[in-house]
């Protein structure tokens, strides 16, 4: 446990570094004794899970930190065996149902039933409910989400749910209305800088302000990434040199190069080349929507005002189709082709204007 990310992860609500008001709300919620279902959402690296763990600790005390991994088995109606690993303590269980793909409904139903049907033994000293933490709820199938809504009400007496996701747009309204929504916004650049500085101080290092800002900018307000980058810098070179580049993940560089290729030339041949690179990204488990977003971000830099709107509109359109489709490559390619067409037209018009 010695990456800085893990080492300096706050464990109680009081130790949280930002969104302190929200932390106070959470504490009051716990103290009030009427703890609702929670839906925690926010961008990656904003500290959703940290916050959840802190809340759990607030609820049950340090016992929740004794974690164990268990493999649970479920059988689908079609007699297919499903295996899913859960992380649990005596008081809570955490599971990522989307690991089992489209059979997530079975997992949701069985798991929650199992947990909820057993009452806590000693209710005098402890809370009389357990907590089920479901992560990546936005990747749950619609069926699973519908299965969830009744279960949530039925087992309210013995079980609370904490749902965790990046965006609520893919959570059905029925579930959103049953939960207390809790948005964990990404920390601001200042907040990240501050955290980086304190961490370095604890490590006995001095972090120049410019360096901290640079890392915070590069991280895209993702605290996890900021801390990791900072630590990587520290390993590569100490004392910190603000002049030095902060190393970026390879996939980002690769994506940027791909975007450059697209902007350089617009032809089917180039598209073929780009396809190979898109495949490469996809096979490295980079989520397609991240690729789409990254490409758009890079491509927008070569667009002028009017074109931007058109490109963004098309990106949204193809991203939507991507969610509806099966194979991401078709949709990414379609977006690239569309951009090529738009950009080529734009270039040709530009040339025509010159003459």
């Amino acid at each position: 446990m010695s990456l800085w990310v893990d080492k300096y992860r706050p464990t109680t609500l009081g130790k949280l570094d930002y969104h302190k008001e929200q932390a106070a709300h959470l504490r009051k919620l716990v103290e009030g004794g009427d703890f609702p279902h929670l839906l925690v959402y926010g961008p990656s690296g904003a500290g959703k899970k940290t916050r959840i763990m802190c809340t759990l600790r607030e609820l049950y005390g340090p016992g929740v930190e004794k974690l164990r991994i268990e493999q649970s088995q479920f059988t689908t109606p079609s007699n297919k065996k499903l295996e899913i690993s859960t992380i649990s303590s005596n008081y809570h269980i955490e599971v990522n149902p989307s690991d089992v793909g489209h059979n997530d409904r079975v997992v949701i139903q069985e798991l929650i039933k199992n947990v909820a049907q057993v009452n806590q033994l000693d209710t005098s000293t402890q809370k009389n409910f357990k907590v089920v933490v479901l992560t990546e709820v936005d990747r749950l199938s619609k069926e699973a989400q519908h299965a969830l809504r009744r279960t949530m009400e039925k087992y309210m007496a013995t079980c609370r749910l904490i749902l965790c996701c990046n965006s609520t747009s893919k959570v059905i309204p029925a579930i959103r209305s049953r939960c207390l929504g809790l948005r964990v916004a990404a920390p601001s650049v200042d907040e990240i800088c501050q955290i980086l500085t304190t961490v370095c101080k604890k490590e006995g290092l001095t972090l120049p302000r410019e360096m901290a800002e640079k890392v915070a900018e590069k991280s895209g307000r993702n605290l996890r990434r900021a801390l990791l980058m900072c630590e990587a810098c520290r390993v590569q070179q100490y004392p910190f040199n603000p002049e030095r580049d902060v190393s970026e993940p390879d996939w980002e560089i690769y994506l940027r190069e791909t975007a450059t290729l697209i902007a350089q030339q617009q032809s089917p041949k180039r598209l073929l080349e780009v396809r190979g690179r898109l495949y490469e990204l996809l096979t490295h488990c980079i989520p397609p929507d991240v690729i789409m977003k990254g490409l758009l971000k890079e491509l927008l830099q070569v667009c002028d005002g009017q074109m931007k709107a058109e490109v963004v509109h098309n990106a949204a359109y193809y991203e939507h189709r991507l969610q509806q489709g099966q194979k991401a490559i078709y949709h990414l390619e379609a977006f690239v082709a569309k951009f090529m067409a738009i950009y080529k037209r734009f270039l040709e018009e530009g040339i025509a204007d010159i003459f």
Partner: protein
């Protein structure tokens, strides 16, 4: 003019009414007058007087006499018709009818007399009516109205068409009037009802024909042209047929022609008995009826027939050993040589050679024959006939039989090893396995074993006399459509493969022509050739079509063939051919069989460009896709190839359409998979059509088999596996805060940097405290994230340490600069440290398990006692240090034996004597000092003082 006409006819009508109803005897009856009037009937009749003629012989075929009076006004006619009763002859009295004009030259007085007599004999009232008519005529002639002229003429035109009215010599049935012929004889005319006439009129008006300028009607000319053309084609076809015949005859011996003659003769016999044919027609299919019965009647390629027969003859020694052992073989050899010459100039590639040599059991090398080719070429027929020809009893197995392994084996063995005992002609069996490409793989393996097993058994341990399975001593012929079915792969290697080429259409057409002649179906050779082309020379399909046509009508024209939906077999083409078709612009194929009708009507243009018209291309691709199924594969192939296609698309608009279609198809697939709603599957067939119209070219680049998606999928799966293996063994605390997305996007890349601090390549003992701290940090991180270094041998024979699981692969992209690597030594050291640390922790955990309730005091001093790190190390690091080798804490020695502390020992008092004894010796051991000595390198060797007496 109208008025005057009506006026005139009003008189006439009145008169007629009087005649009919009241039968008034006319006041004067004068034959000479009538005679005079009749004189006008001659062709040279005066125009002005013609009205009389018309009146007399209403509806008679007099019209030729008034060629000039063609003017007519329809309304007028109609009115006229309505207001009148007409005179008509009855069609039922044909024998009696006499045309006035024909008789006109005979002796008039005689006639008159005769008719007068007749009337006198018959009825008085007739004469009355006659008189009445005469009366009318008189009155009219007196009036001499010129206006009636044209009206009458027009009416007569009408009458000409009806072609009905006749003049009778005898009294006709029904109402009639009598009058005198122009020579004075009495004739009768029937009175027609008005309604009948009216209907007659209206029908006439409908099919009134325009005047033609040509001397011969066009339809006739067309027929003539068509006739001519057909004759020409027939001649050509006959020539082809004859030449083929001649060739055949020269190749075959005489009996060929005899056979054919015989067969045709017998068929002709059958024709004679028409009743037979009709009854038979209902009973049997033509396919069976006209199936060849002899070797010489076979339509398939001669060389193939021969090689199969030859192969079958090679079995003769084994099967009919007694009969002709060696001469047969020699004969076969000879014929083989001859054949080889033939085969040399024939297309040799179609079949593998018949291996000549026999194995030690005198069986041919190739144990089975495999006939393959598209349906309807006569493969099964060939097999049957050849087997019969060679003197075998045919046993057939086909797809309709159960082909499970057991049944298959039973059948196979019974067919190959048994022989019919009862029956007049007990012949050896020849097994024909039809449609073997559809058989399940295990069943085919049974067959394979039968072939192979006997080989091995016999060659290796012949003396043993195997109990299971004898030699395969009977020929087996397999028939299939697709020889490249995976199940047949092994079988193919040991089979004589005979690949059927298409039957020549001329050959097939001439055979069809024979059949058609026998069946009395009118069909020209041209139409038959077209039919062959449409069905891809599928004999079965041709015959069935012909029979079908015969059921409904007697003629098969070229038109029929072209419009019929025959020959569209649901044949599945390979995916490659589909992809090729999508990216290839079809070349205009000249339609060879254009009917004359189309030529005349100028339709040949449409027919010739038939297959390159957009609609035809559309239909073709759509049809192929629907037949091919496998929409996913089709889509992949298109996706991988369309960017290589040469298409002019400067603004990339086509590209956008194409990619949009791919997106659409993908969404469709997802929808189908998700909702199991296959009703929308039909739309996916339109995707290739779009691509065809966008990217079809006359000479496309080679279509590549789509690997990309599959490879990508495999790589993706590999990455996922790496990540899951990494995740699954992480410590719970780390696992809780990571998932695969986090790992790839944020975590792994910087982490690998963190894991590579600069370490001096010296012994760890010499490290400064800071360096030691760094090292331990790396070790801890790697353990927390379940990573280690693992020694591997690289392809060039060098040993390298690689991460295990190799997450470096996950974040490494081609074309980017390599990240800096630790040295071999450093990696080795880290790996060692990791395993040491893991061991320590395991020991620690076991300690805790052994003593579940560990007093706090025991654990607390642990880190401090063994803390090697200097004072600079922050507090939080201390707990991470090794803490396994504290004497107080250790309850298990290195070998895993429980080491009891003194406190525990006191508890064990009431043990049995033996236990006490053991305890005693143990206690002695335990009381001694124990050293744990860490040796350099990698062994936790333990040294302690043991005396001999301890062991005794």
């Amino acid at each position: 003019m109208d008025d005057s006409f009506e006026l005139e006819y009003a008189d006439e009508l009145d008169a007629l009414d009087i005649v009919n109803d009241e039968e008034i005897v006319p006041p004067h009856y004068s034959p000479p007058k009538s005679k005079r009037s009749l004189q006008f009937l001659t062709p040279k009749a005066d125009k002005n007087k013609s009205e009389h003629v018309v009146l007399v012989d209403e509806g008679g075929s007099i019209e030729a006499t008034h060629p000039d009076n063609t003017l007519s006004s329809p309304e007028f006619e109609l009115e006229y018709v309505k207001n009148r009763k007409r005179l008509q002859s009855s069609p039922g009295m044909e024998e009696d009818e006499v045309d006035g004009f024909i008789i006109s030259n005979s002796d008039s007085s005689k006639r008159a007399k005769f008719s007068d007599e007749a009337i006198l004999l018959k009825d008085d009232h007739v004469s009355h009516t006659d008189a009445a008519v005469q009366f009318i005529r008189q009155s009219r002639s007196q009036k001499g109205l010129p206006a009636s002229n044209s009206a009458n003429a027009s009416q007569s035109v009408v009458k000409d068409d009806l072609d009905r009215p006749k003049v009778f010599k005898r009294i006709p049935r029904g109402d009639f009037i009598s009058t005198l012929g122009y020579e004075g004889q009495r004739v009768y005319m029937q009175l027609w009802d008005e309604d009948v006439l009216e209907s007659e009129f209206s029908s006439f008006e409908k099919d009134s024909r325009p005047l033609s300028l040509l001397p011969v009607p066009v339809c006739i000319m067309r027929e003539q042209i068509e006739d001519k053309h057909t004759r020409k084609v027939m001649e050509e076809a006959n020539a082809v047929h004859d030449s083929l015949r001649r060739q055949l005859e020269s190749m075959e011996e005489e009996d060929t022609s005899i056979g054919i003659e015989e067969s045709s003769k017998s068929k002709e016999d059958a024709v004679n008995d028409e009743v037979d044919i009709l009854s038979e027609e209902l009973k049997s299919l033509w396919v069976e009826k006209y199936a060849p019965r002899k070797y010489t009647e076979l339509l398939s390629e001669e060389s193939i027939n021969r090689s199969l027969l030859h192969w079958l003859k090679l079995w003769d020694y084994v099967v009919f050993g007694k009969d002709v052992p060696k001469p047969m073989k020699k004969g076969a050899n000879k014929s083989k040589k001859d054949k080889e010459k033939e085969m040399n100039y024939k297309n040799k590639k179609f079949f593998s050679e018949v291996a000549e040599q026999l194995d030690k059991h005198h069986r041919p090398e190739q144990k089975i024959a495999l006939l393959c080719g598209p349906p309807g070429l006569g493969k099964t027929t060939l097999a049957h006939i050849v087997a019969k020809h060679a003197g075998y009893n045919v046993v057939e197995m086909n797809a309709s039989d159960d082909r499970s392994v057991d049944v298959f084996r039973n059948k196979l063995e019974s067919a190959t090893q048994m022989k019919a005992v009862i029956g007049a002609d007990p012949r050896p069996n020849c097994l024909i396995i039809d449609e073997i490409d559809g058989a399940p793989t295990p069943a085919i393996n049974v067959l394979l074993n039968l072939i192979k097993r006997t080989d091995i058994d016999v060659s290796s341990d012949k003396k043993k006399k195997k109990k299971e399975g004898d030699l395969l001593l009977r020929p087996i012929i397999c028939v299939c459509n697709d020889q490249y079915v995976p199940a047949l792969r092994q079988l193919r290697q040991m089979a004589l493969i005979l690949n059927f080429p298409q039957t020549e259409s001329s050959k097939l057409a001439s055979r069809l022509h024979e059949v058609v002649k026998v069946e009395r179906l009118k069909a020209d050779l041209n139409a038959l050739l077209a039919l062959c082309e449409r069905t891809d020379n599928d004999i079965r399909s041709c015959l069935n079509t012909l029979q079908f046509v015969r059921q409904s009508n007697k003629e098969l024209t070229l038109r029929d063939v072209q419009t019929m939906s025959v020959g569209q077999k649901d044949s599945q083409k390979s995916l490659f051919s589909l992809w090729n078709d999508v990216f290839t612009m079809p070349r205009p194929k000249k339609n060879r069989f254009v009917s004359i009708q189309d030529l005349v009507e100028g339709k040949q243009d449409t027919l010739q460009v038939n297959n390159i018209s957009p609609s035809a291309r559309f239909q073709h691709i759509l049809y192929m896709c629907q037949a091919a199924g496998e929409t996913d594969r089709v889509m992949q192939g298109i996706h991988e190839n369309y960017l290589e296609a040469k298409a002019k698309d400067p603004h990339l608009i086509g590209l956008n359409i194409a990619t949009d279609w791919l997106c659409f198809a993908d969404c469709l697939n997802q929808y189908i998979a998700r909702h199991q709603d296959f009703s929308v599957l039909k739309f996916s067939a339109f995707l290739p059509v779009t691509f065809h119209f966008l990217y079809a070219a006359y000479n496309p680049s080679r279509v590549q088999f789509p690997h990309g998606q599959f490879e990508a999928k495999q790589k993706h799966q590999k990455t996922i596996n790496l990540l899951t293996s990494l995740l699954s063994d992480m410590t719970p605390r780390t696992q809780k805060f990571t998932n695969s997305t986090n790992l790839t996007l944020d975590l792994l890349s910087p982490m690998l940097d963190i894991l590579q601090p600069t370490l001096r390549p010296v012994n760890t003992q010499l490290y400064s405290s800071k360096e030691k701290e760094e090292l331990s940090n790396v070790v801890n991180i790697m353990i927390a994230y379940n990573m280690t270094y693992h020694q591997e041998k690289s392809p060039d024979g060098q040993y390298v340490y690689a991460l295990d699981p190799n997450v470096e692969e996950v974040i490494k992209f081609p074309g980017l600069k390599q990240r800096k690597q630790l040295t071999y030594g450093a990696k080795q050291m880290i790996a060692r440290e990791i395993s040491l640390e893991k061991m320590r922790r395991a020991e620690d955990a076991r300690n805790r398990d052994a003593k579940p309730i560990v007093p706090k005091q025991a654990t607390k001093p642990a880190p401090t006692v063994n803390n090697k790190s200097g004072p600079a190390v922050p507090n939080h690091l201390q707990k991470l240090e090794a803490k396994s080798i504290i004497p107080q804490k250790t309850s298990v020695n290195f070998f895993g034996n429980l080491v009891r502390t003194k406190r525990e020992k006191t508890q064990v008092k009431d043990a049995t004597e033996e236990e006490v004894k053991q305890d005693k010796s143990k206690r002695e051991l335990l009381d001694t000092i124990i050293w744990f000595h860490f040796k350099e390198g990698f062994s936790n060797a333990v040294r302690r003082a043991v005396k001999v007496q301890d062991l005794l």
